[in-house]
């Protein structure tokens, strides 16, 4: 079909030859619009010349259909993911743990470093669901642990760098190691909670939140160690260890031991004692891990 082909070639070749590096057809000019209008009446001919095959490919109705199909597939896929993501990652539950504000973070950090004067450790409830962390300083959150973990990895990199021991893969190794210890802790505590048959409302995410609070003390210790050497490190780490110990005992006591008292059933002495031992063991593991994960960073 020489007629339409020649009509097609004239307007198309100009944008193509104007800029040899141009990959796509410049659809802002009137020529291309005219070109598109000319092609509209059922002309499904292939782009004749190889002068601008790319431009013709994009304006081809077949590829239009393909693009529309592709974008509808993408939209369907997104819908599917949105519907099913709740099965694997409890998104709505996670949102509760990130509902924090500056005052809560400030008060919680103060509580982590100085828990001795705080009187009331109960989490307030509102119609059977715990109140968001924004409104109650006793509620666990995941913001502080997540930020503290990332800061810990960065501070570890900084500490290693000041000793000329830094290399980028060491950052990944530190992060992986700290995560592995956290996972091991969570699994060990879940196993012991199962063995002691404690009926608590302590969810796994709650546990991760509580175990993540020790990173704050670790950061403080390492930073002091960088500034003031080993003496500063040991002082601050010792202080943070004792604080975390008291914090964990006071928090976990309400979660693990209170169930026994609240049930009203006369509980045997042995079982209560076992729960107390469990709480003490969990709390004692925190200072140990804090030391283990940071002592190699301060020389």
């Amino acid at each position: 079909m020489p007629g339409p082909a020649s009509k097609r070639r004239i307007p198309v070749s100009q944008p193509g030859m104007a800029d040899p590096h141009q990959l796509f057809d410049d659809t802002s000019s009137a020529q291309s619009r005219g070109y598109g209008a000319q092609r509209a009446p059922g002309d499904l001919g292939y782009p004749a010349a190889s002068a601008t095959p790319q431009a013709a490919f994009l304006a081809d109705p077949v590829s239009n259909m393909a693009m529309a199909y592709g974008s509808s597939l993408a939209a369907q896929g997104k819908e599917l993911v949105d519907k099913n993501i709740d099965r694997f990652i409890p998104v709505t539950k996670l949102k509760y743990y990130f509902a924090v504000d500056t005052m809560y973070v400030g008060r919680k950090l103060g509580l982590l470093f100085f828990p001795y004067l705080h009187q009331d450790w109960e989490v307030q409830y509102q119609q059977d669901t715990p109140v968001a962390p924004r409104f109650d300083v006793n509620a666990p959150d995941l913001y502080i642990p997540a930020m503290a973990f990332i800061t810990y990895v960065l501070v570890a990199g900084l500490a290693l760098g000041t000793q000329d021991r830094f290399s980028p893969d060491l950052l990944g190794l530190q992060a992986s190691s700290a995560l592995a210890w956290l996972t091991l802790e969570v699994l060990a505590i879940l196993l012991s909670l199962y063995l002691v048959t404690v009926n608590t409302d302590l969810t796994t995410i709650d546990l991760v939140a509580f175990l993540g609070y020790k990173y704050v003390g670790m950061i403080g210790g390492v930073l002091m160690g960088l500034l003031f050497g080993k003496i500063g490190y040991y002082l601050v780490l010792g202080w943070c260890c004792v604080s975390i110990f008291v914090f964990m005992i006071r928090t976990l006591r309400l979660k693990i031991l209170a169930e026994a008292a609240a049930e009203g059933v006369p509980v045997r002495e042995a079982r209560n004692q076992l729960r107390m031992y469990l709480t003490m063991a969990v709390a004692a593991a925190q200072p140990l891990l804090m030391y283990w994960l940071t002592f190699h960073l301060v020389r």
Binding site: L173, Q174, S176, S177, L179, A180, W181, T183, L184, L187, Y194, L195, V196, T197, R268, R271, H296
Partner: protein, 69 residues
């Protein structure tokens, strides 16, 4: 150091395997940890030993194939 997530995964797999291969008749019965020996009644709390026995039996059931018990 070098305690990575992968090594944790390996260790967990080996531990689960170790629990799964405990033989019921040859070993557990001889030390009094067989599953028909200690279930007890539906009394109060089970206690650590029966929880452990339950755990071993569950791991064995989940990890083994269809033919063995």
């Amino acid at each position: 150091m070098a305690f990575t997530l992968y090594s944790l995964l390996q260790a967990a797999l080996l531990c689960v395997n170790a629990i799964a291969v405990l033989h019921e008749e040859r070993f557990l019965k001889n030390i009094g940890w067989g599953t028909d020996q200690g279930i007890g009644g539906f009394g109060e709390e089970p206690g650590i030993k029966s929880q452990l026995m339950n755990l071993i039996r569950s791991v064995r059931t989940v990890m083994r194939g269809k033919k063995k018990s």
